[in-house]
């Protein structure tokens, strides 16, 4: 399973997660956020930023390299 899951029914396409993801791992498509797993470091910020509670991040899925980077 991927680290980030987006609840499309709750996402309102505000673009906040897209703007502030430190790795540009989110994009807006047809007014919904879409996740790009290859770029993601599972930092968990988008879960906190989303005003619609539409994002959950499993931070245990942090890649080993990225763990160091954000520590």
């Amino acid at each position: 399973m991927e680290a980030v899951s987006i609840n499309e029914r709750w996402c309102k396409g505000c673009g906040i997660c897209v703007a502030f993801c430190p790795k540009e791992a989110l994009v807006l498509e047809h007014e919904k956020a879409r996740h790009i797993p290859d770029r993601c470091i599972a930092c968990g910020m988008c879960e906190l930023y989303c005003p619609d509670l539409a994002i959950t991040v499993d931070t245990s899925k942090k890649p080993a390299r990225a763990k160091k980077e954000v520590a």
Binding site: R9, W10, K12, G13, C14, G15, I16, A19, F20, M45, E47, L48, Y49, C50, P51, D52, L53, T56
Partner: protein, 268 residues
């Protein structure tokens, strides 16, 4: 995280506009409650009226959705009757400082153990964008088409002056601070006031041509700085964030319990 167990999922998606900062405060509050491991049945959220006040509908705690401006008055009654409850009182800027301004200063003065959260979007969102006591001079609102001439309250200074014992400020951009400050506010014994700048892109942002939610959040990022930071020292025009006061003073319900004991002749 496990926020799903803390909300009333049947009411989602919530009614707030795309990008409304009230949702970010709900998000941070749920993370704080989750991290503190609080029992939902020990929590009550008491709100008044406004877009912000609708937050009480979404949390799966005990909740009271009361009258505009009267959330703190109702919360005071509840806390006196059930001192063991942990009580959150989220309020809009109008709710807290216009119609509810009197309740606000007196709750601070009494130092009653509540966690008041002022969701400051500098406008009346629910009723269509009238200016509030927190809008400030030069602001455009439906009731100020030629710009407001009213100076704004500083909620932090107001709470400090009125006697609140925990006073803090952050913004909807600083999402980790929202959680950490709310955690400290809840653990504090006495009146806690947490001001959080939140974006209302629909009225405040659009009327004042600040742009969308992202641009409003960028302003919070760029125009604020942590208390005691070099950034704040270098540019006094920035607005300070952080914990302004965290002190102990006799708490109202505990003092009242002593009065009850005295009246019953059980005084030590």
């Amino acid at each position: 995280m496990a926020f799903q167990k803390l909300i009333r999922e049947r009411f989602f998606p919530h009614l707030w506009c795309p990008g409304c900062g009230h949702g970010t405060v709900l998000n941070g509050l749920l993370h704080a409650v989750d991290e503190l491991g609080l029992d939902q049945s020990s929590l009550c959220m008491v709100s008044g009226i406004g877009c912000s006040a609708r937050i009480a509908g979404y949390v799966d705690f005990h909740t009271m959705h009361t009258m505009h401006g009267r959330a703190l008055a109702c919360a005071t009654g509840l806390k006196l009757a059930r001192p063991s409850l942990t009580i959150f009182v989220p309020m809009g800027d109008g709710d807290a400082t216009a119609i509810g301004g009197n309740h606000f200063i007196h709750a601070c003065r009494r130092n009653i153990d509540l966690t008041a959260i002022v969701l400051n979007n500098r406008i009346y969102g629910m009723t269509g964008g009238q200016y509030s006591p927190l809008s400030g001079q030069g602001i455009l609102a439906t009731t100020a088409p030629y710009r407001s001439i009213d100076p704004a309250f500083d909620v932090v200074q107001l709470a400090l002056g009125a006697g609140a014992t925990f006073v803090a400020r952050t913004t909807a951009f600083h999402v980790k601070e929202i959680g950490s400050i709310i955690k400290k506010a809840v653990q504090h014994k006495g009146m806690s006031v947490v001001e959080i700048f939140v974006q209302c892109p629909t009225y405040f942002g659009r009327k004042n041509k600040i742009g969308d939610a992202v641009q409003m959040l960028e302003q919070y990022r760029d125009r604020t700085a942590p208390l005691g930071s070099k950034k704040l020292e270098a540019d006094p025009s920035l607005i300070a964030r952080g914990i302004f006061k965290d002190e102990q003073r006799p708490e109202y319900c505990e003092e009242y319990a002593k009065i009850i004991a005295r009246a019953q002749g059980k005084e030590a």
